[in-house]
């Protein structure tokens, strides 16, 4: 069904994928879970900020911006 994993920060703007796992720890992990970034959630990269960072993602009906460094703690399905 899936061809592999990559991190969320590599998801191109406009593309859609599904969260596979959270690889970060600590408070960030807890916050991401509470925002709906759990395994199985659909995410779409909507828009990068003017300097390319952070990126706004649609997740669970809301728009959440994450810095690329933090988004790399989320593993998604895809090559």
């Amino acid at each position: 069904m899936t061809t592999g994993y990559q991190t969320l920060d590599r998801l191109p703007v406009g593309a859609v994928s599904t969260v596979a796992a959270l690889t970060c720890g600590g408070d960030l992990r807890r916050r991401l879970l509470d925002l709906g970034f759990v395994p199985g959630s659909t995410v779409q990269a909507l828009q990068a900020a003017p300097w390319g960072d952070p990126v706004a993602y649609a997740v669970r009906g809301a728009v959440i911006a994450l810095r690329r460094r933090d988004a790399s703690g989320i593993s998604i399905y895809g090559k």
Partner: protein, 623 residues
């Protein structure tokens, strides 16, 4: 007790109109904001419904009760303390799925819970339909739909709250069914539990909410414009420039009107007081000291503040500020600062004391300190009139048009943002070393601002606030400076002596002793610096009457001002010690005198260096 008072806790995600519900229910005029954590402390309000007294406790907006942040701790501790007879969870109808996560967490901890699905008007505009009956039966709790800003559904909400405390429904079954968590590591347990909650929220939303595929089309379009690589920053400058232009152009007329009429009253007032038999010295102190300063604050300083504030609040109301934070985040990240610092910086444009208090939304102590220490580097609303007056008179052709003055003011604000970034960088490289902590920023849906309400409320609030300060601060300061100017032991007035003492330092910075005196005496409130300065000049004898803004240049030039002086004065207005209210707030927020002193010394040092450098460089110019 015969007269029971029920305590209701108000919980919800940030940006769901929780404060609007609070205000509407309690008729309290709490300023509502569109950024996370606006309600940083718990506000309390009261209302009576059908003879029952309610106390409403507004908890900080949070996404969860589980995380370790200060806001979550406040909300969680209050809910678990059992102090509340009921909990009202406010949710955003346009983003219900994510909002239900918090609801489920609240339901697991307390009973009874009432769900208020707010912003139904916004949801209808997007074609989103929420089946409240389906939610009610699936959750087993009362669910009320509201559009709180228009007052819709609030009576039903009050009725539901009364029912919940008087005749509570039986506790609903556990809202979330967890999978078997035995044998898992703590982290796996946490993940599985969070996943179960999110899945349950998704299932509920799937049952009760119909979202058309293009529901968020306009939000996405606006975001593509307002936060894009090409247009994001220009749009930001344009919007801020527009607000400044409207402020300056709009303030001209009332300002001229007020100063004409208020300052013309000084003579008659003096004669009236003299006629009442007051001694001449007292008459003079009251008219030239107290009255003139207050008239200045009211006529020249008040109008721009009154126009800027509502405009700024409208942008905030529409949901634009999180986009500013999104656009600028990269710069703050590079400077080792927290992403939310751009929000507290924006709050500082309104009022530095509010900005400093707003820094509570930053969890990491290191980054919060950076935000606190650098907040007064952006000019607050109270400093705008001084900047506008100087820029208009010296650089924009003496009020030829509001456009050049607005462009220059925009430039001054951009400079102050640049200095904020530089100083943040410096702090995070030296005494506040560390890497920026992780953060997430919600970009909430744009909302049509409640124009009438915002304008009326902020006009009233700001007018009262500034008039109150004028009475409490400007009047005594006017009296003080009149005394300093007129008490002349040995033939030289105290003001002249102080001015002469400060003069060498002032000259070094391209200013003069009188200007430094005005800043020192203006410590209680920035908006009185200019009136004090004029008073100082006028009492020094070069001119005895002052008739309004039109003569500003004449007075200043008569006291040795050139455009060099104006440049330095603009720089020092941007960068000097914070006002007394801000200093007190910093002292309270940091709990440390040393950090407060540093917060005062940092902008002062920046201002001194910039002024001295500008003075030196401008001295090489032939004009």
């Amino acid at each position: 007790m015969d007269d029971p008072s029920y305590v209701v806790a108000l919980a919800g995600n940030p940006n769901v109109g929780k404060s609007t519900v609070f205000n509407r229910l309690t008729s309290l005029h709490q300023h509502t904001g569109n950024w996370p954590g606006k309600t940083v402390a718990t506000a309390r309000g009261a209302f009576t419904y059908q003879g029952a007294a309610f106390t409403l406790v507004d908890l900080p907006g949070t996404y969860s009760l589980a995380a370790r942040g200060a806001e979550e701790a406040v909300a969680r501790d209050f809910l678990c303390s059992g102090q509340a007879d009921a909990t009202l969870v406010v949710a955003d109808a346009t983003c219900l799925e994510r909002n239900l996560i918090l609801l489920l967490q609240v339901m697991e901890r307390t009973h009874p819970v009432v769900l208020c699905v707010n912003l139904l008007d916004e949801a209808e505009k997007k074609g989103i339909r929420v089946d409240l009956a389906a939610l009610r039966s699936a959750l087993g709790i009362p669910v009320v739909g509201t559009a709180a800003r228009g007052g819709r559904g609030l009576a039903a909400l009050q009725a539901a709250l009364l029912d919940a405390v008087r005749r509570p429904l039986p506790p609903p079954p556990p809202p979330v069914a967890y999978p078997d968590l035995t044998g898992l590591s703590p982290q796996e347990r946490e993940d599985a539990a969070a996943e179960a909650v999110v899945r349950r929220a998704a299932a509920l939303a799937a049952k009760a909410v119909t979202v058309p595929p293009q529901a968020h089309r306009w939000d996405r379009r606006l975001d593509r414009l307002l936060t894009s690589r090409a247009a994001g920053l220009p749009a930001m400058l344009l919007l801020l420039g527009l607000v400044l232009w409207l402020t300056i152009a709009g303030a001209n007329v009332p300002s001229a009107f007020l100063s004409d009429h208020l300052l013309a009253l000084e003579g008659p007032l003096g004669r009236l007081l003299a006629g009442a038999g007051l001694p001449p010295a007292l008459c003079s102190a009251l008219t030239e000291g107290v009255y003139r300063t207050v008239a200045w604050v009211v006529s020249v300083m008040l109008p721009p503040m009154l126009i800027f504030f509502p405009l700024f609040t409208l942008l905030e109301d529409a949901g634009y500020l999180p986009r500013v934070a999104f656009n600028l985040d990269h710069l703050f990240c590079r400077c080792g600062a927290h992403g939310r610092q751009s929000l507290t910086m924006c709050m500082g444009l309104g009022c530095n004391a509010c900005g400093v208090m707003g820094c509570r939304i930053i969890d990491s102590p290191r980054e919060r300190l950076i935000a606190v220490l650098t907040n007064s580097l952006v000019p607050c609303n109270g400093r705008f009139p001084t900047l506008i007056a100087l820029l208009t008179v010296f650089f924009a052709g003496g009020g030829a048009g509001a456009f050049p003055a607005a462009a220059l003011l925009l430039g001054a604000i951009v400079l102050s943002v640049g200095v904020t970034l530089l100083v943040s960088r410096l702090l995070s490289a030296t005494i506040l070393k560390g890497a920026p902590s992780a953060f997430s920023l919600e970009l909430p849906p744009y909302r049509r601002p409640q124009i009438g309400q915002v304008v009326v409320r902020s006009l009233l609030d700001r007018t009262l606030f500034v008039l109150g300060r004028a009475a409490a601060v400007a009047a005594p300061a006017g009296l003080l400076i009149w005394c300093l100017a007129n008490a002349a032991p040995g033939g030289v007035s105290l003001l002249a002596r102080c001015g002469a003492f400060l003069d060498p330092l002032g000259r070094l910075m391209g200013l003069d002793g009188c200007i430094l005196m005005a800043f020192l005496l203006g410590f209680p409130a920035n908006e009185i610096v200019m009136p004090i300065l004029l008073m100082g000049y006028l009492s020094a004898g070069s001119l005895t009457q002052y008739a309004g803004l039109g003569q500003l240049q004449a007075v200043l030039t008569a006291n040795g001002w050139t455009w060099h002086t104006a440049v330095c004065m603009v720089l020092f207005t941007l960068f000097h010690f914070p006002c007394a209210a801000t200093c007190l707030t910093i002292r309270r927020e940091t709990g440390s005198l040393r950090w407060t002193l540093l917060a005062a010394a940092l902008p002062l040092a920046v201002g001194f260096l910039l002024c001295a450098t500008a003075n030196l460089l401008l001295g090489f110019l032939p004009f």
